[in-house]
């Protein structure tokens, strides 16, 4: 007896939701949304937040070995920004009704995914330059579009992040430009980093449209506004002239401008490598997760001390528990 009216209500709510999406309206946390929209956003946003957090590790590796005090201060600021970006997006994800502790647990237990790119090692100082230039460059291409996502808290976090990422990309490109006009060894170091990071950076924008199970649904809901292949093409078109400007070559013999399409054609991506890294078999997957687990365990006494301090000083208006 009860079943019929409930279905009708659900259908009506769903129709209203789809109409709001179609009209380009922004969905806010307390608005009704289909369960599937909620779970897809939690998956996508938490993966994004985890990527920011794990993304601190490859660069953190070089903080104590930066070539100058200026570069060290810049790198610390950048890594701190990544922590902040993780917090912006965790905060947005929590508005969907999921607990922060649960998200962290998903990461530490290996159930959650994060960007494949951070499972590659940072072997030289030039890697700091290329990460800012390629990895943050690709992230900007992706996040500029996500800043128009239909879910308000996600879009607002992206706007905040995009403003800060421009510093990341520019400082990276400056490192590479400086090395590229340095000694032959320095230029070779820059070229080596470019060679190692180019293909993983292209993969970072996600599987090809023909093999991306979530894209169609996320596009329909206007969470994503461009497909992975469209974003990848845009990143390539932007980056090729930047490589030319500093006299470095991108490691793809098939890369050339196509006057008909007005885009750069490029060679085949090794998707087998991508899926291997996604499945946990990249060069640094285990090391990255272990570093996060160690950080969580080693921070335990800080959390305990902060709670004890808060309990001791709590007044009725500021109870901590």
């Amino acid at each position: 007896m009860d079943q019929q009216p409930q279905n009708t209500t659900e259908e009506a709510l769903n129709a209203k939701f789809e109409a709001r999406i179609a009209a380009g309206e922004t969905i806010e946390p307390k608005d009704w949304m289909p369960e599937r929209y909620r779970t897809q956003l939690i998956r996508m946003m938490s993966q994004h937040a985890h990527s920011e957090v794990v993304g601190m590790l490859p660069e953190g590796n070089w903080i104590t070995r930066a070539p100058s005090l200026k570069r060290e201060m810049v790198l610390i600021s950048k890594v701190q920004d990544e922590a902040g970006h993780g917090l912006y997006i965790y905060c947005g994800t929590e508005t969907l009704g999921v607990d922060r502790a649960e998200l962290v647990d998903q990461l530490l237990s290996g159930r959650a995914k994060y960007s494949s790119i951070f499972n590659y090692p940072t072997l030289t100082w030039a890697d700091m330059g290329v990460i800012g230039w390629f990895v943050d460059g690709a992230a900007i291409v992706n996040q500029t579009v996500l800043a128009k996502a239909s879910y308000g808290p996600y879009a607002r976090a992206m706007i905040r992040i995009c403003k800060e990422e421009n510093f990341h990309k520019k400082q990276g490109y400056e490192i590479i430009a400086t090395l590229a006009k340095g000694t032959p060894e320095q230029k070779a170091m820059a070229q080596g980093a470019v060679n190692r990071w180019w293909w993983p950076s292209l993969m970072m924008l996600g599987p090809s449209d023909t093999n991306s199970p979530n894209t169609a649904e996320l596009m329909r809901w206007r969470v994503k506004r461009k497909t992975n292949d469209e974003l990848r093409q845009r990143f390539i078109d932007l980056t090729v002239p930047q490589a030319d400007a500093v006299g470095l070559t991108l490691p793809d013999p098939d890369l050339k401008f196509n006057p008909e399409t007005q885009h750069y054609d490029f060679g085949a991506i090794n998707w087998d490598e991508f899926w291997q890294v996604v499945k946990g078999n990249g060069p640094c997957n285990r090391e990255r997760l272990q570093a996060r687990r160690d950080a969580h365990e080693n921070g335990r006494w800080v959390r305990e001390a902060a709670e004890a301090y808060a309990a001791k000083h709590s007044s009725p208006a500021q109870s901590a528990a």
Binding site: E28, K30, E304, A321
Partner: protein, 97 residues
């Protein structure tokens, strides 16, 4: 005490960008107490010197308007078109209004 795996309370963060501007919602932070919430909020939402004042409020203390009845709830304001200056007609060509 071993309750450190429990979730610290959530605080909503409001920032004022410059003197004279209103405080606007920036996001949220988890913290054990108000002092820590302010410090975390400063580190997360004020890293670039673009904030002159900050409020933190326990999220649980905020009462929000009902989102599923936003229409009826705000209707009394929307229907009073005579509150807007466009409602009134004045002689053509008159300046200074």
């Amino acid at each position: 005490m071993t309750s450190n795996e429990t979730q610290w309370p959530l605080w909503e963060v409001f920032t004022q960008k410059d003197d004279g501007s209103p405080h606007e919602h920036a996001g949220s932070v988890h913290a054990a107490d108000a002092e820590m919430a302010l410090q975390n909020a400063r580190d997360v939402y004020g890293r670039r010197g673009n904030v002159v004042s900050m409020w933190v409020v326990p999220s649980a203390m905020i009462t929000a308007s009902p989102s599923d009845q936003a229409g009826p709830f705000f209707e009394p304001g929307a229907e009073k078109i005579y509150r807007h200056p466009q409602f009134y007609k004045i002689p053509r060509g008159l300046k200074g209004f």
